[in-house]
Subunit: 605 residues, 2 copies
Amino acid sequence: MTELFTNELKDKILSHKRGSIGIAQINPIAGDIEYNAKKVLKYINLAQNIGLDLVVFPELTLMGYPIEDTIDRYPIIVEDNIKWLKEIAKITTKTCAIYFEPSPVVGCQSADTLCNFDESKIENCPKTIIINGIKYGISICEDCWNNKEFFNDNILYSKDPIQELSEEEPDIFINCSASTTRAKKEQLKYSMLSFISKKYKTPLVYVNQVGAIDNNSFDGSSKVFDSDGKLIARAKSFEEQFLIVNPIKNIGEIYPLTNGPEKTLAEVKEYTLEYDSDLERTYKTILQGIRDYFNKTGFEKAVIGLSGGLDSSVCAVLLADALGKDNVFGISMPSVITSSESKNDARNLVQNLGINFLEAPIKNVVDNIDKTLKEIFKKVETKWNNRFEDSFTMDNIQARSRAIFLWGISNEFSKTLPIATSDKSELYMGYATINGDMSGGFAPIADVTKTKLFALAKWLNENRIQKNVIPQSIINKKPGAELSINPKTEKPLTAEDALMPYEFLDEIIWRIENKKENYYDMLNTKFLYEEHKNLPKEQKIEWLDKFYGKMSNALYKWSILPPSVIVDSHSINKYDYKQPITSSNINYKGISEIEISEKIKKINV
Amino acid sequence: MTELFTNELKDKILSHKRGSIGIAQINPIAGDIEYNAKKVLKYINLAQNIGLDLVVFPELTLMGYPIEDTIDRYPIIVEDNIKWLKEIAKITTKTCAIYFEPSPVVGCQSADTLCNFDESKIENCPKTIIINGIKYGISICEDCWNNKEFFNDNILYSKDPIQELSEEEPDIFINCSASTTRAKKEQLKYSMLSFISKKYKTPLVYVNQVGAIDNNSFDGSSKVFDSDGKLIARAKSFEEQFLIVNPIKNIGEIYPLTNGPEKTLAEVKEYTLEYDSDLERTYKTILQGIRDYFNKTGFEKAVIGLSGGLDSSVCAVLLADALGKDNVFGISMPSVITSSESKNDARNLVQNLGINFLEAPIKNVVDNIDKTLKEIFKKVETKWNNRFEDSFTMDNIQARSRAIFLWGISNEFSKTLPIATSDKSELYMGYATINGDMSGGFAPIADVTKTKLFALAKWLNENRIQKNVIPQSIINKKPGAELSINPKTEKPLTAEDALMPYEFLDEIIWRIENKKENYYDMLNTKFLYEEHKNLPKEQKIEWLDKFYGKMSNALYKWSILPPSVIVDSHSINKYDYKQPITSSNINYKGISEIEISEKIKKINV
């Protein structure tokens, strides 16, 4: 165990023993109760050795949050959870450890019922708990998200448990959370928790889970506010930590946040290409996402196709940092139209990073598949007359052949996962090949838009200990899959040729996700792109229509996207956003009453 | 439009005009408000022409149920929904059409507020609505699922809206639903609705959506009960229909259900291989699932790999029936170990069915990939020492090469989807190849276990107009992917060699899904398999352990399963069952208090 706190801090806290609290910011594994319980025991023992009054854990610590529907197929874990809880409770004589079970009563739960499970004791008893003379008002996660003033009446539930707790005038509020990291969410949580402690003139201890569970990445950053709403302690971000505090005496330590949230505690309301304030958080969120997905599923190594393009290059750096460079194998699989520059770029990246590397020409395999498929197409044509004049079929064969090699390596070598390199902008547009580049065991950058990815690449070059691992030529070149030639330019088709400028595309995504704008909202307001480029209205309309058309056809791809890590405030991750695939015919432009009335008249004639 | 009702019935209903109701059992498209509104208008006009008092539609008719998070990315549809509703309301002067908007008030909503949107009118006003002298108590879907007596206190919500409505003594209950078909659910709904009408001595009209939206298949089967709880009318299953009834006068028509539910209105509590009572419903559920997924996404044709095995053969029949035989292309892609019998079986099936067919040898492509991959593996081995001694890599190459061909055809020919043929038993065991047989645009039998699939094949042979299309040899042979040779038997490895007898496997699935049993529940009770086969306890333990081990490793595959159609009461469909992939280390056997206590002691020493 690393050093947890200075002796000075420890002495200070113990000299004011009443109200001394240990915040156990832990990284659980969903469903692995024994693993989680052992972590809990470790910190209870530590707290008891120090002589703290209380040790607090995140929400649903023994099960691991989120457990989702798991108990439907493993009902045994409900019983096991209670058994472990009861056995642990037996050793918490000196320090009180607080956990929660589902309460049959809406609202707050009395101290008497903790670790007791006697339903009859729950109703009409005090909602707060007194330990060593200090009265605690304890709540769970979203219990805290119901302050009408703070949210302008736009609240989650009809009850405000904090308000109810405050009626008993607790000395300290405790909030046990499992709250994911999202863009700008840290600022919101900070403001909200500060507001609550100030409003009720009561210190507030917020303990948050750390670590990733599948698509959800939790940042920790547990914090304590004094009765004026001032931050007096904060745990590290993205690290397991045991933090000791005394909110009564304003004693604690403030560990620095990742760069961004510290600087920008106010929410930005306008779209910007200045991603700097969020890049460290983005990097750490994805790193934790990769590391915990691999660790918790028992995988150790990753194999990734390196095209010399931005997506795969950034993924390779993230994988090397998350898993260690020896655990990453980069495979260059050039096709006939892959430029020598791209091949060199991939090689240079690999040399800089120090990951494993091999080059596997896919030409023969692709030619062979092409040849066989062309014969198949001829036969199909004898029965069906719906063959496209132009198609992407042969481009896709390249992407799928590469994926066959990556999955082959994953099948042949133990504990090895192939990586899907699709980014968020491409996925929005369905600009990713099924069973090709969008296929893999994990998709690290599925929630990072292309413009942010460029910024992240630059940030990595500047901020990693080893500078400039990503060759500048990779950052400079226009993104494109190098699957086919643009007949106009006679160069490989770039993604922007096929789609639209990424700056414009990413702003559409941002407006839909963050401002809930519709088609005409966007058509009638100025994009950042329009500040410095002339954009005729017809072109803007064409791009907006293309966006909505492609997005509705991408729904199926979203539904089969591999596990990824959610980074932005909103994502297309299927556990984050659900839309029927069969709803692809939505009228995204809307309709006026007059048009409706005319349509109805026509029907009724 | 087909004939909707006999003139005799129409006359009868109109002679008792008060309380005459049209039940519009429609098939909406999620998000396509104009499409849905036109259907609504058609039936309102029809009802007005007939002179009915009221026409009722399923839950969330204009939006289409389920709309899920769609409004987050398309906020415009919320406004459009209201606009269409208001314009439609203008023409409902003679017949009252009932729809619902979200109410800000928990509980029931007054008649005055319908199509009115004046929040101030909602509170403290009557909860029922009077039309032409008849008082209606209207509820939506799960409002009906809260009767404490019927559910033995195990209810969904703390309020019972039907109870509240009953206090105003309505003449008729109306329930507008969008309720999916599931195994045994029809029986439950029938009993519940009958119970309610009898309990309150009030006729009940239940209108249900029909059609499939992605994974959800709605069966229609709208029904009417008299005040004694007796069924007096029922609409067709799996068909759009306009049914007219008069519950006050006990007038209506009872269309037959699919075979099963009619016969078995009591729930079966024991596992059985007698699937007969549920096969017609299963067939129609899947047919509707395929047809609506294709129709609503704009696809028309399907391409499917035919192995001569059970899964692909049953899928081919279902596709031919759902899309028309000319719209289905079967592709035989034999490998070196594919038996001549399997090739013949595939050809015979195709001839019987009359679908399109071609044979595409995959040998060259597989050999070429094999060769290239072996060279790649040698290079990887110079850096990594984790190569498996035995692997399924080369077997998977065959499955993935086939999928490349199917996806290639789908890319080259318009409106064409490839089909994933994995069944439920295989998916539970992860016995399906990523980017191979489990990849496709749609997975028709992903919620049908293997033993049920055998029964379905026999049923199809006996009950389709054209008998015996599936060659008996396909039904007789042991299932297996024919990807590799079993060294013990020197024949192709069968699935049961690799897993366990399907009869045993499917009973585990059934017990977990329907009885929420755990490991020891199953170990300590007799399986159907044990009734007629000697099963040593060690063998049973081995199979149970194998099941849990393989299931936890299959979670990733479940997460990337293509859209399918949910058939059983529970499924592994990712929108139906959610479990963190990283929760694979669950102790499925459970643990005793003593063991826990000992583990804790060890830590604390």
